[in-house]
């Protein structure tokens, strides 16, 4: 279609980026990837809300690097990429959860784990005798690699994360907003924090399979951050965040289908653009609200 608009000179790089010939066939071939993307969108959109309210964006990045190390080790040792990445994620998430209850501790532990994980992953990949394109897929995402057994395991993990989140949703919200009062009310704040880190570890492991370790934040943080720019309703934000994540992932995969570059630039670009649009919209909203509040709020007492 785009080639028809520009019939004379379509540059090579453009065809590398966007090539929609044989699109129907590709769509059938890659339906597993599209499904995996949609699943990850739901997982990322929902868990992202808590990543934001618990201020764990940096921790997510740290977990994803250890997840990458686990996946690379899984590839090298032949135990499986998904299995390895889950082990890596959960070890990292548990360490950060156990040792980093205060934000400052958490940041330093994450910063210590992150380069270690990346280095370990690079070592495993360097030792791995297989094809190099497999290797970089773990860092930057791969689209062709989702076969039926892998889709099943991704779906199963996604299901665990989503159901787990729905079960703990309310007390976890309470604990995230105001841990002291939640504890006084009998909410098991510390146990919930660990449960959440484990769910986060699983969510990261799923994301690494699809968008790659370096770009997990675009799925687990950006959609929720964008949603929070335009709403503060505890119902609207998770819904919007999920929609944004699914649109970024499925949209990114559909655009990437015919191209010869990895999927992640498409996903991260869509995700980023959604954030930019939300930010612009929110600054307009804020300007309107502040002028309204100035009128309503005059003469108010604290």
């Amino acid at each position: 279609m785009i080639a028809a608009v520009l019939p004379v000179a379509t540059p090579d790089w453009w065809l590398q980026l966007f090539n929609f010939s044989d699109y129907g066939q590709l769509l059938v071939l890659l339906q597993n990837s599209i499904l995996a993307g949609a699943l990850l969108g739901v997982v990322g959109g929902l868990i992202g809300v808590f990543v934001m309210s618990r201020d764990l964006a940096f921790a997510v990045h740290g977990i994803s690097e250890l997840s990458f190390a686990g996946a690379a080790a899984g590839l090298l040792l032949g135990v499986g990429v998904v299995e390895g990445s889950i082990v890596g994620s959960i070890v990292a998430a548990a360490l950060i959860g156990l040792l980093g209850s205060r934000a400052r501790d958490r940041n330093s532990i994450t910063a210590v784990l992150m380069p270690f994980g990346l280095g370990l992953g690079i070592l495993c990949l360097a030792l791995y005798p297989g094809r190099t394109s497999n290797k970089f897929g773990l860092l930057t995402g791969q689209i062709v690699a989702v076969d039926d057994p892998k889709l099943t395991s991704l779906a199963l993990i996604s299901l665990i994360v989503v159901v787990g989140l729905l079960v703990v949703w309310r007390p976890l919200t309470f604990a995230s907003v105001d841990a002291n009062v939640a504890a006084a009310r009998g909410v098991p704040v510390r146990a919930l924090s660990l449960v959440f880190m484990l769910l986060l570890g699983l969510a990261v492991a799923v994301s690494v399979q699809v968008v790659g370790a370096l770009l997990v934040l675009s799925v687990l943080v950006t959609p929720a951050a964008a949603a929070l720019r335009i709403s503060r309703s505890p119902i609207v934000v998770p819904v919007l965040s999920t929609v944004f994540a699914v649109v970024s992932l499925v949209g990114g995969i559909l655009l990437a289908l015919g191209s010869s570059v990895p999927i992640s630039p498409y996903v991260t670009t869509i995700s980023f653009l959604i954030y930019v649009v939300c930010r612009v919209a929110s600054s307009r909203q804020a300007r309107r609200a502040s002028s309204r509040r100035r009128i309503v709020g005059s003469g108010e007492v604290g």
Binding site: V49, M52, S53, R54, D55, L166, V167, V168, W169, R170, P171, T173, F174, S176, V177, D178, N180, V181, A182, A183, A184, R185, G186, V187, A227, L228, S231, R232, S233, P234, I235, V236, V237, P238, V296, G297, S298, G299, E300, V301, G302
Partner: protein, 279 residues
């Protein structure tokens, strides 16, 4: 000074007998006997580190007593008791959470339950009722991060009222509020404890914002304590004996100023750092 809201014959809400708390080898207070009557407002004063907050945590079942007993309505205190409301220091304003005023109050209604909060007419009505009780209806849909400290504290009182508490524990709820907001928040607690009949234990470093509404004062210092009306406790001779060093209590223009306590650098000043509260 207002008369206590109830007669002393009523069974106490909270009762401490021979209570002692030792944390990390350090005894904070011992032989503490305290009864909080329904509707009674007790201020907990004392030096930094004298165990004011730890007293609240004991009542919340988070610190077990080293000796003695603590009972709420006749039963030993336990963790997560829904009959206790808790209002901590003002420190919310979380930019990252999807949370509006009414959602914060909603957490008091059912935030401790598993699952997700399904919208229902009954839940909505209950939240509206609590918002009205603290006069927060008109900013109920504003994100909490956009609210002033005083506005947030009103919501938290609404949140604490959600469980129909028999006892309200307040831990420095006026900290970093301006004078006007301090007045609003303490009046709100006062009105509600009279209307609803719950006892109040109010930890504060400054008695002045609540001097008009408080029934009794529990003053903790150096493992000892004094209980009585403000006039009985906030006296130079009483506090000098308690601190075992000369302390002067000066009353001027309806305010109480305590001079000479060992933690003088933190004592009894108002903070004016909350610019959002100013119109």
């Amino acid at each position: 000074m207002p008369a206590p809201a109830t007669t002393p014959t009523t069974a106490p809400v909270l009762s401490l007998r021979g209570a002692q708390l030792t944390l990390g080898g350090r005894t904070l207070w011992r032989d503490l006997d305290l009864d909080v009557a329904p509707g009674e407002f007790i201020a907990v004063l004392g030096a930094n580190g004298s165990g004011k907050t730890s007293l609240l945590k004991t009542v919340l079942g988070q610190h077990p007593l080293s000796a003695g007993t603590a009972t709420l309505l006749g039963e030993p205190v336990h963790h997560g008791d829904r009959r206790i409301g808790y209002v901590p220091q003002q420190r919310l304003a979380d930019e990252g959470a999807p949370m509006r005023g009414r959602d914060l109050v909603g957490l008091g209604v059912d935030g401790h339950r598993w699952g997700i909060a399904l919208p229902s007419r009954a839940r909505r009505a209950r939240i509206d009722e609590l918002l009205d009780a603290v006069g927060a209806r008109h900013y109920a849909n504003a994100p909490i991060s956009s609210l002033s400290g005083g506005e947030q504290q009103r919501l938290r009182i609404g949140q604490a009222l959600a469980g129909d508490p028999a006892l309200l524990l307040c831990d420095e709820p006026l900290l970093s509020l301006d004078l006007k907001a301090q007045g609003v928040v303490s009046r709100l607690i006062d009105e509600n404890r009279r209307a609803r009949g719950f006892g109040v234990l109010f930890v504060t470093h400054d008695i002045n914002p609540i001097l008009e509404v408080v029934d009794r004062v529990l003053y903790l210092a150096g493992r000892r304590f004094r209980i009585g009306t403000p006039d009985e406790v906030l006296r130079s001779d009483v506090l000098s004996e308690l601190y075992q060093s000369p302390v002067d209590v000066i009353r001027a223009r309806g305010r109480v100023v305590i001079v000479g306590t060992p933690d003088q650098s933190h004592a009894h000043g108002h903070e004016h750092d909350h610019s959002k509260d100013l119109p």
